[in-house]
């Protein structure tokens, strides 16, 4: 069974039959977590770095912003028995249009928002595949914890 994570969305599962997939991350970030013991995994796919630009929208859809989305991802996984110290944490996405050079670079700011937040909470990032002008698709098998990444222009590989 495939559980699809849309844009500004999050899914966490402990169903061994499930795969969690998020298609086509552009400047968005897909934070992917997996606890190898509890066999709980999740992907959060947020679009913007900071909810202070529109707190009403963050209330309506907290998965839209890094600062409101990431805590929910971890909390939901903890409820299913996941533990911070056992978790693999991956950051994927955060691309940019060519020549943005820091200007209007939402992809990079999305990435920095996650780094800052995880660092503050003593979460170690296990793997990153961010930036460039590519888009990325992530698949996470809940049973095995196997994570596959497809970067546009290339073929799928296991992380």
């Amino acid at each position: 069974m495939n559980i699809v994570v849309g844009v500004s969305d999050m899914q966490v599962s402990n169903d061994p039959k499930a795969s969690i997939i998020t298609y086509s991350l552009g400047s968005c970030i897909g934070v992917t977590i997996y606890d190898t013991v509890a066999r709980v995994g999740g992907i959060a796919h947020y679009m913007l770095p900071d909810s202070t630009i529109d707190t009403a929208k963050a209330k309506d859809n907290p998965y839209m912003f890094a600062n409101t989305c990431i805590p929910l991802l971890f909390k939901t996984a903890y409820k299913l028995g996941a533990k911070k110290q056992r978790m693999r944490v991956l950051l994927l996405g955060g691309s940019q249009i060519m020549d943005q050079n820091g200007f209007f670079n939402i992809g990079n700011r999305n990435y920095m928002a996650a780094r800052k937040m995880l660092w503050k909470n003593n979460v170690v990032i296990d793997y990153e595949n961010v930036g460039g002008s590519v888009n990325r698709t992530i698949k996470l098998s809940v049973k095995s914890g196997q994570i596959k990444l497809k970067v546009s222009g290339g073929s799928e590989f296991e992380i």
Binding site: G6, V7, S8, Y23, S24, L25, G26, S27, C28, M47, L48, I53, D54, K57, D60, N61, M64, S95, Q96, I97, M98, D99, Q100, F103, F104, I106, G107, G132, S133, V134, N135, S152, G153
Partner: protein, 282 residues
């Protein structure tokens, strides 16, 4: 280099958009047109009517009453919006097919086209003197060139991808270099063949702002920006990824700040549930 004449000949093999849709576009674009002119054209096209009514009754329009005729649709939604919806109904099949060269699965180019059209219309509302209806049409049709070029991109993908990943070419520049023509230019030719206005031809050919000899007109800027936002959100993005050039002057021309852009993206996502009923047309 590939035989360009052959590629251009392929335009003839691309089935044109239905004549009824073409007529609807000209009726909607003429401020003196009447509702009966529009309904007269559409009512003899059963599949188009069926598709239109399906959209009208989907969550996208948010109508609470059931729409059962074209006349009824115009009464509830107005000529302009019905014109846009007829266009969507008329081109959904064509844009829904898989495009292997661009690694776009069935329905993905359609998602991208619909979303760019809606985002461009939002941007047009904020800009001065930009015709929303024109922009919607141009944004929806801008990637028609991909329908033809996909096969050639597939054949030359390694070379194109090498230029993009190793030599800082944009995907469009790499298409032009390797194949001799890019999807935007080819899309403009398709528009010409289908007898769209000169303005439509120019906007579609220049939707990645490849013409650097003069500043883009507001319509082109709006469509360019709508496309960029779609790519950033990853909606219907394929093998070309986000490998297109960014021109920051466009933001200044359209008087858009980064905060505005984030607001437009956020609004779009909030509406996504409704927009998904348009994706389902494919």
């Amino acid at each position: 280099m590939i035989d360009l004449k052959k590629i251009i000949k392929d335009i003839d093999r691309l089935e044109p958009i239905p004549q009824a849709v073409q007529k609807v576009l000209s009726i909607v674009n003429n401020p003196d047109s009447s509702i009966s002119e529009l309904t007269d054209v559409v009512q003899y096209e059963p599949s188009l009517t069926a598709n239109l009514l399906k959209i009208c009754n989907s969550p996208y329009t948010g109508l609470t009453r059931e729409v059962d005729s074209v006349h009824h649709a115009v009464a509830l939604l107005g000529m302009n919006q019905v014109g846009d919806l007829i266009l969507l109904a008329g081109v959904s099949q064509k844009l829904s097919k898989e495009q292997k060269g661009y690694d776009l699965k069935p329905g993905e180019l359609w998602k991208h086209s619909v979303s760019s059209a809606l985002l461009s219309r939002e941007l047009a509302k904020r800009a001065e003197k930009v015709d929303e209806h024109f922009v919607f049409t141009a944004a929806l049709l801008k990637d028609m060139g991909k329908l033809i070029l996909s096969q050639y991109v597939e054949d030359s993908f390694k070379k194109i991808n090498h230029l993009v990943t190793e030599e800082n070419f944009s995907f469009r520049e790499a298409e032009k270099k390797v194949i001799g023509i890019d999807h935007a230019e080819l899309g403009g030719m398709v528009m010409e063949k289908w007898k769209f206005s000169k303005k439509m031809v120019s906007v579609v050919s220049n939707h990645h702002l490849s013409d650097t000899t003069s500043a883009p007109d507001p319509e082109t800027s709006v469509i360019y920006m709508g496309d960029i936002l779609c790519m950033m959100m990853g909606i219907g993005v394929g093998a070309d990824g986000l490998a297109y050039r960014f021109y920051k002057d466009v933001l200044t021309d359209l008087k858009l700040s980064e905060k505005d852009i984030q607001g437009i993206m956020a609004d779009f996502v909030i509406k996504l549930k409704k927009v998904e009923s348009l994706y389902a047309l494919s």
